[in-house]
Structure formats: C-alpha cells, structure tokens
Subunit: 396 residues, 4 copies
C-alpha cells in the first residue's frame, strides 16, 4: 500500500451497504486499518501502482444506503465463516458499529410520491455525510442487487425532460435515483451492478453539466474475467471458436434475483456482447445463470469452448471456475474508489474509460480483452486521460 | 494468404520428415496448393500479417531427413482418419510421392565413426537439395521426437574445441548434428522440439561466425499455451497462485518417448521455468506427462490451479484441454518458416527473439506471457529486429 | 450374439425411421448382417444374456413411418462421418434401399379429419407390413423427436370415451396415434422418447383389452445414465447430497426441439423425479438443456454435485460426459426389440417393468438406480415376469 | 445411532493416534458424546443398520500409539479450521486431554534390538489398557502413514519361523509389529493403510491359532470409491473402456510420503488391480499421485475415461472429485470398529470379507464393485459370516 498522500478526507457511499459486497467492503477496510489482512486481489496493490499517489484505503470514510435492516456484523460473520476468511473480526467490532451508525435507509418502492422527492432525500443524506466529516471528495458506488431496467427512463431525452416527468411520477429504477443524487451534488458515481444506474441520456446530460465522473457497469469477477483473458488464446493463434457455452451456478442473493427470468435475460445479454466483439459474430455463444442455494456465496462456472483448428479439426477446451463472489468483488470496489479519487484530483470529468478492466460491460468501450484494458489503465496512470481507450461519444 | 512476392525459391528441410508433424506439414502444404484447406490455426494468416510480404506456403520446396521407413502416405492417412481432418488426400498423391523421393536417411546411432563424418553426410544432403532446386534460402526445422540431452556436449566451450573432439568421437545428440550441418552451410535452424539442438556454446559460436539465424525450442501447442495466457488473469488481478498442477496424457510417439523417465524430467523442467517467471517463485508448480495409448494423437491436459484471493480466501480454477497435437503444431511450423524467411531477407542474424510466441522455451527470453510475446512479434514485423524483446546475451 | 432360435419372422416398426436413431438402427442392423460391426454397447451381448434364446438382430425385418423425406443414406453418411463410425457403408447400400422402399409416410398435423381416421391409416400400414413379410410378431418403437403432451388426452378416462371424441376430433399427440395403432392390432409398443405415447388412461385401457406389451419412456443414454449409477456412491456411503446441478448441451434435432421452452420443461421434469427418488427430497436438483449447433450429434453434460460429509464438511464432485447420442441409443433400441420379442414369446402382457434400465422415466417404476434395475432384468431373464420390480398399479 | 446394547466396554487402539485420521477420530467421538455432530458419512448410520445392535460410538474407550509428539489439540484445530468443520471444539477439551494422557509412544526405527522386544512392549501397552479400563474387547486399527513393505518378511513361511528370526533381528515393517502385538493377545486388527500389516504368512498363521479377526487394507475414501461405482456403468451397458487415467493431488502427510517413488509404486499397484478385475485386462489403466502442499488435507482427483461404444465410436467421461481426506476416512474408521465389534460378539474369526466395501484392496476379495460389496455386507448383517463374498483361502 502506498502512503496516504493527502490530509483531505475522501468519502465512500455504498448503495447497498448491508449486502455481501457492501458489508465485506466495510469489514475489509476496518481489518486493513488493523493490519489484519494482506493485499492479494487488490489490483492497485500491484507494483505498477506503487508510485501513483493513490489514497490509502485506511483513511476512507464510509457510509451508505440500504433498504435492509440486517445488522452488518451478522452478514460479515456469515461471509467470514462460509469463506474461511482471515482477519480477526473481534478487533473491528467498534469500527463496524461506528459505520453502522452512519447508514441511512435506502429508497423503497412506493415510499416517495415522485422521483424528485426521493432524490432530494438521498441528496440530503449525502450532503449531511459530506458536511459532518468534512469530506473533500465523495464517491458513490452501487453494490446493491441487480434490478430491472426501466424502458421509459431510457426514452427521456434530456435532464430537463426528466425533471418534468419526475416531479410527478416515479419512472426511474432505484439505481438511477442514486446516480441522480450523486450527480446533483457533483459527486462521482460508479455502478458495480448491471443495473441501469447512470445509463440514461437524461442523467448523462446532468453529469456533463455538473462535470461529474462516472463509470460502470457490472463488476468483472468470475467467468467473464476468465473469458476476457482466454479469448486472447484463440485470437493470437487464429483458432476459430465455433461455440462458447458458459453456465454459472451460485447461491447468494444475486443468484436468487437472477432466477427472475426478466432480470436473467438482461444479465445474459451484457456478458454476450463482449465475447462476440473479441471473437467475431460467427461464435455461437450462450451464458446461463442458475441459483443453487447450497452454494451460498460460492459461484461455480463451467465453460465449454468448441473450436476448429487447422485442417478443419474440431477440438475443445473446458474450464471450471470456483470463486467466492464477494471476495473477488470487494478489492475491486476498493480499487475503483482509489482510482476514481485520483481522477477527481486530476480534474478529470465524464466517463472513466480507463476503469474498463473492472467491468463486464464497460461504458462506451468496445475492447473486451482484459490485457488491453489493463494496459490502457496503466497508460492512464502514467499519462492521464488522453492515453486511454477511446470511449464512444458520451465522454465529451 | 499474401501473394508470393519473390521468384526466389525457399527450401524447407524437415528433420523427422516422416513423423506426425513432418508428414502433416508435407500433406498440408500440398493441400494448400490444391486450395483444399483453410487457414485456421495459421498465425501468419491473421490480418496483422497481411502486408508483411511473407513467402507463400504454396511455393515452398520441401524435403528432409528421417530414420524411419514408414511411407509418408501411411502416416498421413492415419492422421487424417484419427482427427477427421479435411482435404481430399486423393488429390495430393503425386505431390506426396514427389516429396518422398527427395527424403534422405537420418543419422542412426553408431552409423558414423565420429560426429564430423555424420555432419559431413548431412551437409552433403542439404547442399545437394539446394543445388538441385536452385534454392535461395534454406530453413532446417527439427520436428523429430524428443531425445536425451548430452551433458558432455554442453561442456565444450567453443566450435574449435568441438571440432577436435568430434573428429574422433560421437558426443552430440542427433538434434545437434542437424543444427551443426545447417550452420555449416549458413542455413537457418529452428528447433520445434525440446531437444538440445543448437543450444551448445560450440554451436552458437559457429552460428555467429556463419551469421546464421536460429531459434527454439519446443513448439507451444497445448497446455503451456493455455498457461501462457491464463497467467495474465492472476497477475492483472493480483491473485496469489499457490499451486498450479498440470497433467498431460497423450498417445503418440512423443508420449511413448516421454515415458522414459530421463526424457520426462527434461520436458517437465522446460515447462516449469516459464510459469515461475510469470507468477513468481512462490508458486508450487508441477507438470506430469503420461502415455495413454488409446488417445493416439489426441492430447488431453488437466490443470488445477489453487489461488488465494483477498482476505486469504482459497479458490481454484481447473481446465481440460483436448487438442489434436500435430494439427496444433503444423501451422506453427509453416508460420516459423515464413517468418524466418522474412528475417533472412531482411539480413538479420543470430537468435530470433520475435519468434518467442511459438515456443515453450524460447531461447534467451524470460517473458513467458503469450500476449506480450505476440505483441513483440507484431512490433518486429513493423520495425525489424530492434523492436524485439531483448534476448539474453547470446544474440550478438 | 446368440444364434437365431426360431424360423418365425419378427418385424420392427420404427416411428421416426428417418431420424438419427431410426436411420442408425437400420444401418447398424445391415452392418451386423455383413459382420462389419461388433457388439460394444449392446446390453444383450453381455455374457449374462448368452443363453436367453434372444432373436438375432440380423433376422429382424424393419420398416417404419416418418414425416420427413430426407433419404436414409444421407442421414447415415452424416452420422458416420461426424462420429468417425466404423463399418463400410458401401457394403450395405442395397439393404438400405430395400428398407427405404418399405417406409411409409407418418401422420402430419391437419392431414386427417380426426384421430380415428389417422389411426386407421397407420394400422393399415402395419397390417400390410405384417402380411407382406409373414411376420409372427411386430414391435413398434417410437424413436421420433420429442413432442408436446396433450393435456386433453390425459383427461379422457377410457378407450370408449376416446373413440367417441376421436371420431370427430384430433386430440392426441402423434406419438399416441402410433401407440393406438399398434395396440389396435395387438402389437407391442415401446416409447424411446419422452413423448406422451401410450401414457393415457384410454390407451392403457385398450392395451389391456388387447393383451399388448408396452414400455417407455425416454431412452437412458447419457447424463441420467451416469446419475443413476453415481447416486449409489452417496447412498452407500451415507453422504448427504445438497445439490445436484446438471447441464446438457447438444446440437442435434432433439436439442433444437428442446429449445422450445414448453418441451424443455417436460424433459427437465422427467429427469428430476428419479434423482429425488434415489437421494430424498432434500436434494436441490436442476437439469438444464441447451442447443449448441456446432456440437451436432455430440452431447456434452456437466454435472456439479455438492455434498456434505461427516462433521458438516462440504465437498463436491463434478463430471463431464461426452457422448455421441445416437450411438448410445441405437444398441438400446436393438436390445429393447430383442427383449420385447422374448416377452411376447413367453406370453407376457402389459407393462414390461424389467425394461426399466433402458429408460429415464420407466413406466410405473420408482427404482431409479441402474444396478438394481439391471439386476431385476437379469432376474426376469431367468425367471420371467414375476421376478420383476413391482410396477405401480397399471400392470394388471 | 442405535442404542448401546451392552454394558461391556469396547476398546479402540489407534496406531497413529496423532495423525489426521487418528486425531479426527478421537475428536469426533468426543463431539458425538456431546451431541455436537450428525451422522452424515457414517455407513452404519444408514437405516439398514438400525436393528443390528451395534455398539454406540459414544461408549468406545480410545487410546493408541504414535511416534509423533504433536499435541492432539493442535492437529484437531488445524483440521477443523482447514475443512470448516462443525462442532464446538471448546466443549471437548477435557475429553481430548483425557485421551491424550493414555497415548503411548509408538515404535521408532532402531529403538528395539529385535522385533520380539518391540512386540513385547506394544503388547504390554495393550494389556495395560485392557486391564485399566476393564475392556471386554479390543480392536487395534492402523491409521498411520503409508510405509514401505518388507520383502524379507513376506518370505517367512510360518509364525514359528518368524519368532526365530525376530528374536535376533528387525525384519518387520512397523505396521506388522502392531498387527503381531494385537494377535498375540487375541485382539482384532484392522489395517486402514496400504501398509504390509497382517499380510504376512507368519502373522496369518498366528491370527488363525489365536482365532483373531482381521481385515484391510487401505481405506476407500476418494477416487477409488468413485471408480468402484462407475465401473458398473460401463459393465451394465457393455461399453468397452479403452483407458482409465486417474491423477490424485493432495497436500497432507500421506501425499508427502507418496512422493517417495518406492512407496508410490506400491500405492499405484493396489488401486490398479481392482479396475482390471472389474473391466477386464484390456483396459489401459494408470493412477498417479502427487503432492501439492497448498491443498492440505484436501484431495483432488481427476479421472479421464476413454471408452468405445457401438460402431467403434470413441467417447469419454471425466470427473473431478474434491474431498477432505480425513473427513471421508474418519466415519469409516468408526464403522469398522462397530462392525468388527459385532463380529467379535458373534464369535467369528479370521478375515472379515464383509468389510470389503471399506477398503481399496480388501484382503482375499476379487469383487471390486462397491454395490456388490455393500450388498454382501448387508447380507452378513442379516445372516452372519456364511452369507459373505468368499475370501480366497486364508480365511480358514
């Protein structure tokens, strides 16, 4: 870890703070402060990031929203037990209590008469947090469960139109309410889920006028991560991939949500696009996701790849990935905060294409391959925004 | 495929011409001339190579050495049947007969009184071939079976010392005799096997004085290929690989040879070095190779990778690779010939570090990762030798 | 193979004769007559069946129905090429032509004004076949594609009611029309598909009054076969299976049909029941089936089994099965014919519970485990019907 | 668990009491007494054993030998942590201390001048234990690490000859010393390891004269267990298995021991014999075992099975087994004790062929298949010894 380079305070606002990733992020930061855990899995702990003057995780001030009432410590104990995780939880009880005291209620369906009222409440919570802790910068990051997209919201062409509609109606998905609230105050917004979030013309319009930073979506933690590496093999060796079938099974809340066919379809889509972009449209690709309760936080993926080599010879490769989902996600959340903070200090604004390696569906980025994405991140670290993969249009 | 850019003739000399890779190379070039097969699996058929003015595979003049008497067509028919390969073999009967007529006997143990006499005979065969077909350039490529290394040969410090010893004794492994013969006439030598070949101080000495091109060793076709891609995942995500266990089973001559424990050990070593270079010395890595006759040319590899993520969480990934060994190797042999020919035309000499992506154990190269190796190859294609990964020392 | 023990002729009527299994059955019987193929995969070629006086496959007279016009030889050549199958197809051209000449058109939707008329036509075809070849016994076996069940048909309580409805309407699934036609003439009916076939109160009523033999459904060729063996491990060792997730991918017509969600659900159900019967209701079990065109006839199944051992320790087993679907099915079709013929000669009637090992969803049988089913078959072979697993009710 | 049916005390003597299996057995019995753990994995907890009047595990009096000094509780804590095992260890501290106080030093190489002296000491320890706790019956069970066989010991034809040799020399492997000591006092001896143990003409001679019970060897806990089930699939379906390749990786002491090539060979042999007995000599079968330290007690096995179906079609199945070795072994140890105790009470003597399902290499038994072995065990439970699989010769 690099030393803290600033006495300014950086705030982190977790949307879905009581969920697996949220709770694990809170506990991990506390354990890091107690020097109870190492840095395996943290991208920004690689030597290449050593001189980048990134904010220390230990100094971050954390809070968040959630609609659940489950005590943080219960979720944390469950996660630590199930994954045989390291770090003495007894040492961080006070820190957990302290964060828990700051948490605010998230927006529940039907709670507010219209979206403007809901956003006002959320914004109030964020402002209070910034004031109370004298925060120089605030990064809002969505780590809540996947939710349905709102087609109506996509159709609203500008922030102005949105305000008009939202003064009387509820049209936005919850994730978009949080994004709106963040942008309203000039804060950064990161979407770690496949939800709609900031991906609306109206909110991009707002972000631009407020000069906000934003990026997403859908943290790349498992099967897609492997895919985004393995495609290189077939490309570099000029091997024709005929079909790539992937099947995920998982037992956490994300899995249960995905058993809803509507949500399932949107998840499947976002994974698919990348593979075709890397291997061409000829590849017959499918991804399945199923809920298997007894797996808990563990996520197993099996992929079967059928390819044709020289002389028309059909061959195959298959892999099984066994990952503990939130353990793979949490360090990426911390990485995203550290890198977004750097971008804020550098005065950047708009989409952050250099964060592409962290997402299954990086906003505005066509490059699916992890190595290229990561090289672009390293280049940005050296040179700043201009070195980056080119985002498509929205990043004015 | 690019158009042929030269009326000069390029010769290819296959050491082990009657083996699986040798015979498949001969048949594939004939089928390509008949437009019977596509270019899947050929690295040099990628768009990035389209403007590189590479020699057309169709124009290559092929011959070689072998100690076996098995008719080419028998091996070819067996390979095509076993792998369900495409291309009408009936159309290439004449071409196969024509190549077969050119083949010469390889060196058998005890046949010559000393190594100098053996090399003289081999060189005679090469010269005759060059004269008869008016070849402008000759590339000798070793695709014979793996053989034991000669520790005595490694200890000989210079070409001068080697000549003295070799005038009266037989000290070199067969692969080194072929390398010596190639260098003696200024020809290029490529080692597609893990044998000793040119990897002797005395032969490197000779190659330098004769300004020869050379590279090796051990074609990267299967499990190591996958490894050299997958390591990126763990490096880029800063995941600590605790152990990486690989097991190969195969049923061809290579597998039978490897059941000899002595040879097995040397094969295992060459694969191991790369993984440690990419992931650090902490990784506990083992590779096993076993012979399972009923698999024939098919090679199955199972790798189990145990890694530790954030919070000390142990996770794993496993893959199974099912490849038809010679189908994966043959296009690489054709690629190596085309790229070596370009280097010869460019007036380069010494080791060819830009060919690293083709080898399990690239001579003088520490970079194990395929993507980096391939990027260096593309850079060389644009800019020439100076753009390359730096070889260690020997490439004066 | 045992010698033919009778000069009586036995007829086989394939419903779906031009499909993969139908065409392969026809070609295989022809190749067996030419002594071109061995007996691997034929259950009745095991030593335990040697003294059972089973009809020789070579003497069977074959015909069938199909709605397709694809020439048998085209399907046969495709199957042999894709699976690298043995046997010289050139030797059986005449035999294939001979069978093809006998084939009749199957029932197409909307072709007949009512079901009675359709059955009359089908029965006419069967009677003509029996007369023309002087057949002593006829076995009708459904090897057509999976089709939707007809809920209305299930509700018809008796044969009498069925006739009344069917004189004016079309209510039955095609598979049931064939079963009806078979029973009408006292012939045996076997359902190798998961279709509705004879599984209607009205048709069971008819079968009983006509003293017919029948059995089904859904040939047990792949993943379910493995399951029906592996459950023994967990039962015998008293290991608690928490979840058993299975995923099948396949590229043949069956796979394409199953991409229809309606059909998919019924297929999934029939596989599920068995696992629960063997491991208890606590097991969380799911089976997925997806169509991956490039696999052709090959069927890949991946199963992930999570179980809890002593001291609450969570462990797992996973397997991948790579099978050529029709090659696994065809010998079972031949087995079923030979065993049904024996039952006919023994004067048995009703359901044939001893055929349970051949089916995913054996009619009236709760025993899911292959070993027990197979032991019951061997006992029947020795002792006749009374030794059998007890069918539930319908086998009066 | 059945109720305790006797007020007699049954003693268990663990050879290798401080090893993984030994320590886990001690802890498990203590946890069972505290009602902290369930019966998953215990064969004798299946309903079929409910009326068999087996001794309750809770009443067993345990002690043992070991050459190690590692405190029981350290090993226990390591095993529980690594495997996320259930049961509150804090509740059994006193019980562990109590057992630990009884443990005796095992025989170390070179400690005694000759084998007779060593056996005398071991016998003394056993007698003292029996007297002190008023034990009615004692079962000695070897759960120590695998050790080399002594070829000299095998050549000694009778107990009489053994005594003569052993009065002056050390010829027996340690496992055989323990077996001798057990038989000397009429106690039962079970070998859960692949060591030589009682498998010597001289010791079988002694066992017969002392009317002792004995059985082994090598607990069937993982890959061989799966094999002994899966072979049924290929046999019952008449599928020709061409090759069966198995690879085990494990990180415990057993794995480290097996990295000694000499020991490795003997382990491999014992696994191989069974597969050939079940599938015929044509199967090309290999088993590899390698040590991968980071796996700890976890044992991963990968098996690749290549088989030929109808029409010469090559297909395959592969599986990966992920088991926690001592968790799979420990309940079998408890089962063996309970069943051996029953045999003692029934007045049986000699080899116990009904215990075949528990061993990779069951003494005197050719039947490799688990289902058959287990059925024989159930038959014995009902009827006694005469119902059993016939042992070959030695069981006079």
């Amino acid at each position: 870890m690099t030393a803290v380079s600033t006495i300014e305070s950086v705030g982190v606002w977790l949307v879905g703070a009581r969920g697996s990733i949220g709770a694990m992020t809170i506990a991990s930061l506390a354990l890091m402060a107690e020097r109870e855990v190492g840095t395996s899995g943290l991208v920004t702990a690689r030597p290449e990031f050593a001189h980048a003057d990134l904010v220390s995780p230990v100094g971050l001030v954390v809070s968040g929203h959630d609609v659940s009432d489950i005590p943080l410590i219960d979720t944390i104990r469950r996660l630590w037990k199930e994954g045989k995780l390291e770090g003495d939880l007894n040492k961080i009880g006070d820190r957990i209590v302290e964060v828990e005291a700051r948490l605010k209620n998230g927006v529940r369906a039907g709670e507010f008469p219209n979206d403007v009222a809901a956003v006002a409440q959320l914004r109030h919570d964020l402002d209070e947090f910034k004031t109370q802790y004298g925060l120089s910068r605030l990064i809002v990051i969505n780590v809540a469960s996947t939710e349905q997209h709102s087609p109506e919201a996509s159709a609203i062409p500008s922030y102005e139109s949105l305000r008009k509609v939202a003064e009387k109606n509820t049209v936005l998905a919850a994730s978009s309410l949080y994004a709106w609230a963040a942008f309203e105050g000039g804060d950064a917004f990161i979407d770690f889920t496949p939800s709609q979030g900031f991906r609306l013309p109206a909110l991009l319009d707002l972000a631009q006028s407020k000069r906000c930073l934003y990026m997403g979506s859908d943290g790349k933690t498992g099967e897609t991560l492997v895919k985004s590496i393995l495609v290189e093999l077939f490309r570099r060796r000029n091997l024709q991939v005929d079909s790539w079938f992937g099947q995920n099974i998982l037992g956490n809340r994300d899995g249960a949500t995905l058993s809803d066919p509507y949500v399932k379809v949107s998840k499947v889509k976002s994974k698919d696009r990348g593979l075709r972009s890397a291997l061409g449209d000829a590849v017959d690709s499918r991804v399945g996701i199923d809920y298997v309760k007894s797996l808990g936080e563990w996520k197993i993926a099996w992929d079967f790849i059928r390819f044709t080599g020289f002389l028309g010879c059909g061959m195959n490769m298959q892999f099984t990935w066994t990952g503990y989902d939130s353990v793979l996600a949490t360090p990426l959340v911390i990485d995203l905060i550290r890198l977004t903070d750097l971008a804020m200090r550098r005065g950047e604004r708009g989409a952050m294409p250099f964060l592409a390696p962290f997402f299954k569906d990086p906003f505005g980025i066509d490059e699916f391959r992890l190595v290229s994405q990561d090289e672009a991140l390293l280049a940005w670290l050296q040179l700043g925004q201009e070195a980056c993969l080119v985002a498509e249009g929205h990043n004015a």
